[in-house]
């Protein structure tokens, strides 16, 4: 994966799926519609402010709550290139890889402020704060997840498996 550089938006602990995309917007699954309401109840202006390539940084248990895939879909469609959190709720974790939203677990990012610029090297698992040069080394993405990402998500991965069966 290519390294990315982007501006940071910081959120706190236990950011739940209702904060990421409120249930009142789940009467559609259109990514562009969902993007308009991304993070609305946490930061009402977020969807308008976030720019392509920006990075979300959060605390523990990001994405807790419902199984709605609309959550990673709305983040991705809003333009965020990646989410870095201390840890993720498990369904969100699956959904992010399955839908091709890169996410990284990293405890060290808690001091980073909104507006900082980061460089994220997924292959090496290194996060660099560009202004200070400070670096954080993350847990590597587990091999199976790397396989999913390499295939382009769960669907292409399954497609290949199904094709191999016949």
């Amino acid at each position: 994966m290519q390294p990315i550089e982007g501006r940071v938006w910081v959120f706190g602990n236990d950011v739940d799926t209702d904060l990421i995309i409120a249930a009142r917007y789940l009467n559609t699954s259109d990514p562009a519609e969902l993007a308009k309401h991304c993070m609305e109840d946490a930061d009402p202006g977020f969807a308008a402010k976030v720019q392509a390539g920006d990075i979300i940084v959060a605390g523990k248990n990001f994405g807790c709550g419902s199984s709605r895939e609309h959550a990673p879909i709305s983040i991705k469609a809003a333009g965020a290139a990646c989410v870095i959190a201390r840890d993720f709720a498990r369904i969100f974790y699956r959904n992010a890889f399955n839908t091709g939203l890169p996410i990284l677990e990293c405890a060290g990012v808690s001091g980073i402020q909104s507006g900082a610029r980061l460089r994220v090297d997924f292959d090496k698992g290194v996060i660099t704060v560009l202004d200070s040069g400070e670096t954080h080394v993350t847990k590597p993405i587990p091999p199976f997840m790397q396989e999913l990402l390499a295939a382009g998500g769960l669907m292409p991965y399954i497609k290949r498996k199904l094709a191999a069966r016949v």
Partner: protein, 424 residues
């Protein structure tokens, strides 16, 4: 000789065709039931088509239940339901429930015998973990996982570590399954069981009704758990008998199975609980709730919408009236619960108390419809989440409690202990 395993490990090993599994293993497992609803199935159906799949792996094992925004609350939701219905018809799915047949999925499936002990169930809904109460492995996944399972009948899973919870002692009056699980989440936090299996054991679990067990397993996800599970016993078998459509397998943990930790609670010390906004871990005993005036009470959902919950609420509401500032909304979770509540005369009690009786639906639980909160409004609900904006405006508040506490609060107009209201 295979190594000692927990019930969760045994079910996963069985469905992966392996003699044994250990925490951390990635397995490809056979799925007994794959479930979706009106919110998650449309995405799964899109993915299923993109995959080029023609037929679901088994038309008896893919179950679709439109229950969240149904009966459709607006045009967009109607289109979502239509998408799912057309797919169900095209695929000739055996288990499709709409209109007067529909109910809240996690109450409906066990009631119809669609999940049996020993099953491996995935559902594109986080509260799929409810079925652990039957001694099944059940976990929530996203729509893409559902699409893959609909096509292949398989799912990849990481074998979780298991935390064992031991509930000793006898719970006092008015203490229900809901209180045991709220208390647990209050102790370990909303990420206290992140990625892990939660196995509930002990005399208080043995003595608990199936309804109470469903409530406990339902909220495993609220502690971050992958699944909640209770070993099947005579009660489980009595429940499944006459409903179970398939052969079941009884699994239980080996005495020397390995747990990442064991947490012991004394239920005699647990009072009815209330989870304050905006996380299920913000629990307090009702007696320490203080003066919290409320505007709405919701009794229903996959957590507490069963007949036992209706009876518990009715016991408190009998001869009482909801405070005039409080909207009381009662939602039997399934058509069968509705019918039973009606036959038992509970509707008379609810109507006399000033309640609105809703058709079975998720409705207000996720801020869908049938009872949305305005800014500044507070609701006591028997549901499972009190996140910001969960039931409406971002400045509204949800307090989670058992049905008796919710009913008592409706009468008092503020958070109240059932003992202070019942029989007055």
């Amino acid at each position: 000789m295979t190594r000692a395993m927990t019930i969760t490990e045994k079910i996963l090993a069985d469905h992966a065709g392996l003699d044994a599994v250990s925490p951390g293993d990635l397995v490809n497992a056979r799925v007994d039931v794959a479930l979706g609803n009106d919110i998650t199935a449309p995405i799964a159906i899109r993915e299923f088509r993109e995959l080029g799949a023609q037929k679901v792996f088994d038309r008896e094992r893919v179950i679709l239940v439109p229950d969240h925004f149904t009966p459709a609350k607006d045009i967009k939701s109607a289109i979502q339901v239509k998408t799912v219905r057309e797919f169900a018809m095209e695929q000739e799915l055996v288990h499709w429930y709409e209109g007067g047949e529909s109910g809240v999925e996690h109450a409906l499936l066990p009631e119809k015998g669609l999940v049996v002990p020993g099953d491996l169930v995935i559902g594109a809904d986080s509260h799929t973990c409810t079925y652990g109460a039957l001694g099944a492995f059940a976990t929530g996944v996203g729509s893409t996982d559902l699409a893959a399972a609909m096509a292949t009948g398989e799912v990849w899973l990481k074998v979780p570590e298991t935390i064992r919870f031991v509930f000793n002692g006898a719970p006092g009056p008015w203490v229900e399954g809901k209180d045991l699980v709220l208390y647990t989440i209050g102790k370990i936090g909303v990420d206290g069981a992140l990625y892990q299996a939660m196995e509930f054991t002990g005399p208080a679990i043995d003595n608990l009704s199936m309804a109470g067990r469903f409530t406990i397993c339902n909220m495993a996800i609220e502690a971050g758990g992958k699944n909640g599970i209770i070993a099947p016993d005579a009660k489980t078998l009595a429940y499944v008998e006459g409903r179970g459509l398939r052969k079941h397998t009884l699994f239980s943990s080996d005495p020397d199975a390995r747990y990442i930790k064991t947490i012991v609670f004394d239920c005699s010390q647990i009072e009815p609980q209330v989870a304050f906004p905006h996380l299920p871990e913000n629990t307090r005993p009702v007696s320490q709730a203080g003066d919290v005036p409320i505007h709405q009470v919701v009794i229903g959902s996959c957590t507490n919408g069963r007949i036992e919950d209706m009876r518990s609420a009715a016991r408190v509401l009998k001869g009482n009236k909801a405070d005039r500032r409080v909207r009381l909304i009662v939602i039997p979770a399934t058509p069968l619960v509705w019918r039973q509540a009606m036959a038992e005369g509970l509707f008379g009690i609810f109507l006399d108390a000033g309640a609105v009786i809703s058709p079975p639906t998720c409705g207000p639980c996720l801020g869908g419809h049938m009872g949305i909160l305005a800014d500044g409004e507070r609701c006591v609900a028997t549901t499972n989440r009190n996140f910001v904006g969960r039931m409406g405006h971002a400045k509204s508040e949800v307090y989670l409690a058992n049905p008796a506490v919710a009913a008592a609060s409706a009468v008092a107009g503020k958070i109240a202990h059932p003992a202070d209201v019942a029989g007055k």
